[in-house]
Every structure is written in C-alpha cells, then in structure tokens.
C-alpha cells in the first residue's frame, strides 16, 4: 500500500509529466503546421535522440538503410522519398549525425 506522502509525490510527478506532454503537443501542433520537412525531421531526430540511450538510433525491425528510411517516413506520415532526400542532403553537408 502507498503511504499518503508517497501518493502525493507520485501524483505530483504524474501531473508534471502531463504538463510536459501537453507542452510537447502544443509545440508539435505548430511545428508541423509552419515548418518545412527538413527542420521538422531534424526536430524529430533530436527529440528521439534525447529519449534514446545513445546518439545512434536503431529503429526496430529495420535491416537495410532503405527500409530504415521508410520506417521514419511512416512515423512521420511523410513520403519516404522526401525523408531520404533530407538525409542525403545532410550527409552531403558532412553532418556527422548520419542517422540513415
């Protein structure tokens, strides 16, 4: 059983997490509306990397580079070719964060 103090701490943590989630949704709403694909993809990658254990992203059930691109496109509800275009552009610019 939870002690009353534990419950207060837990409820406080969950409430604050909901506030963060709301703020993230608000940002997502405006970002998808106002920004082009490239900055949106960069944001998505950064937010994913923030929540991952390392700088390398291993998207599940992906074997080939091409499939990995498709997976990201599905998550984003974007056309895969556009996503691939961004990654090629970044690699051409010698960006060290080669996610694809």
């Amino acid at each position: 059983m939870f002690e009353s103090a534990d419950l207060t701490i837990l409820a406080g943590l969950l409430s604050r997490y909901l506030v963060v989630l709301q703020a993230q949704q608000a940002l997502l709403n405006s970002c998808t509306h106002f920004y082009q694909l490239e900055p949106r993809l960069a944001r998505w990658l950064l937010m994913t990397a923030d929540r991952a254990y390392s700088a390398d992203l291993y998207l599940p059930l992906i074997l080939s580079v091409q499939q990995r691109t498709y997976n990201t496109a599905d998550l984003y509800i974007l056309r895969s070719l556009q996503v691939a275009g961004c990654s090629v552009h970044w690699q051409a610019a010698n960006d060290k964060r080669k996610f694809f």
């Binding site: 207060t8 409820a11 409430s15 909901l18 506030v19 997502l28 998808t32 509306h33």
Partner: protein, 256 residues
C-alpha cells in the same frame, strides 16, 4: 455571493463533488471576458484559473516569428489553466478570448489544494485533461492534413459545442489566426458554407444554420474529439446548457 444555478453554466463546475462545491463556490468570481483579452502569455506565471460560461478561450502556440496557431479551445466544457493546478505554474501557450462572454475566476492555488487532496476532483480534472490532450492531438493532425474548408467546419463545430446558442461573434481575421492560415482562405471557405446555407456570416457574427450538414462537410477530426469527450466527460453533451449569462444576470450576481 453568486446565485447557485449560475454555476451550472459551466459543465465541469457542475460536476464538482458536493463537498468541493461548498469549499470552492463561495470563492468564484464572475468576470467579463472581452474579445481578444489575453488571460495569460506563454511563460508567464498565472495566478487564476477560468471556467468559461458563454465565452470561448483559445490556447495558442506562438512561434518565434510571431505566427500562431490554435492548439485547443475551452468553453463551458472546461477550465483554462490546467497546468497551474497540475504543478506546471506556467505554460508554453497563450490564452486569448476568441468569443466574448463571461467566466468564473478562481485562485489557482485553491484549486491546486483541492486537487492535491486526491479526491474525486483529481479524477475529474485528469479526465478533462485527457480530453484536452485529445483535442490538441487532433488539431495537430487536422491542421496538417485537411483542407481549410474542413478545418473551418471542425473549428465551428467545436466552438458551437462549447457555448450556448448558435451565434459566434468573431471576425474572419481571428479565425484565420486560430487556424494559422491566410484570411483570404477563411473568407473563401466561409463564403462556400454561406452559399450552401450552412452558415450565415455578417459583420463579425457567424450563425450556424445547418449543423447536420456542417458535420457532413467536416473531416473525421471533429467526430474523434466529440466521441472521446463524450466518453471521458459524458455530462458535457447529455445536459444541454440552456441558461445564458446575460448582463442582467451578471449584475444580479454581483449585487448578491
């Protein structure tokens, strides 16, 4: 003191547990919300929460460029200032009155104290927060994937659900700001709806004439929000809010 039945104009207030009503209702203050009034800015600490009766408040996200888009709206279904009683203290959004009217104002700390008692109010407010999150998520998808016509229909229906009556006092310029589109786009879309006899638009007032047709023309986003709201807050649409907050009732309330 404010007459008891006035509280019924806000569905969330009406569902407060009896003991909470007794503690909080004497502290409520009925205030007038003029069109365009900013209740709080992004990042500012807010001291009050607002329970609209016949006003509608928009929560907007403002970009660095100054462009803004609506992320959700609150009317007589809920409360403005969720993050305040949930411990966030400030928000990343701006709260602006999109339809003039009135609201009950309450010191945020008092609501937070009640929230922290972990009684029925906690569950009620969490359910409301979930419905608000649903609205935000659906707005994000709708703004991205649907036409201005569909977005306008969704916006009109959501607004209509959150206020008494079928008349919205709002300019096309303001709707364009809410949807994050150019005013000309809203003018065209509103013109098509007016030609079809769905709405009537004149001098800053939009009257919804044919709500069923509006629902037909809308994308699925409205139905998603409506269904989820009905599931989480069944009383919002079951009990119609018929009492209007008039100038006379406000004066009577203040006099009491």
């Amino acid at each position: 003191m404010i007459k008891e039945n006035f509280f019924e104009q806000n569905h969330l207030l009406r569902e407060f547990p009896q003991d909470v009503q007794q503690r909080l209702f004497p502290l409520l203050e009925l205030i007038s919300l003029p069109l365009g009034k900013v209740l709080y800015e992004s990042g500012d600490p807010s001291n009050f929460v607002y329970f609209p009766t016949d006003a509608i408040v928009s929560l907007l996200y403002v970009m660095e460029s100054g462009a803004s888009a609506q992320i959700s709206m609150v009317g007589n279904d809920g409360v403005v200032g969720v993050s305040l009683f949930m411990g966030g203290e400030s928000t990343t959004s701006r709260a602006v009155v999109q339809c003039a009217g009135s609201a009950y104002r309450l010191n945020g700390q008092r609501l937070k104290d009640e929230f922290n008692r972990h009684g029925m109010l906690l569950f009620l407010m969490l359910r409301y927060t979930q419905s608000l999150i649903t609205q935000m998520a659906q707005t994000a998808v709708c703004n991205r994937h649907h036409s201005i016509d569909q977005q306008l229909c969704r916006w009109l229906l959501l607004s209509n659900d959150r206020m008494p009556g079928n008349d919205l006092h709002i300019t096309q310029e303001l709707i364009a700001n809410m949807l994050g589109v150019r005013r000309e786009g809203v003018t065209d879309a509103a013109g098509r709806l007016q030609r079809d006899g769905v709405i009537e638009y004149s001098r800053g007032k939009i009257s919804i004439l044919n709500r069923p047709q509006l629902e037909v023309l809308c994308c699925e986003c409205y139905a998603v929000v409506r269904t989820e709201t009905e599931r989480l807050l069944p009383w919002v649409f079951q009990k119609g809010c018929t009492v209007k907050t008039t100038e006379a009732s406000m004066s009577a309330a203040k006099a009491d």
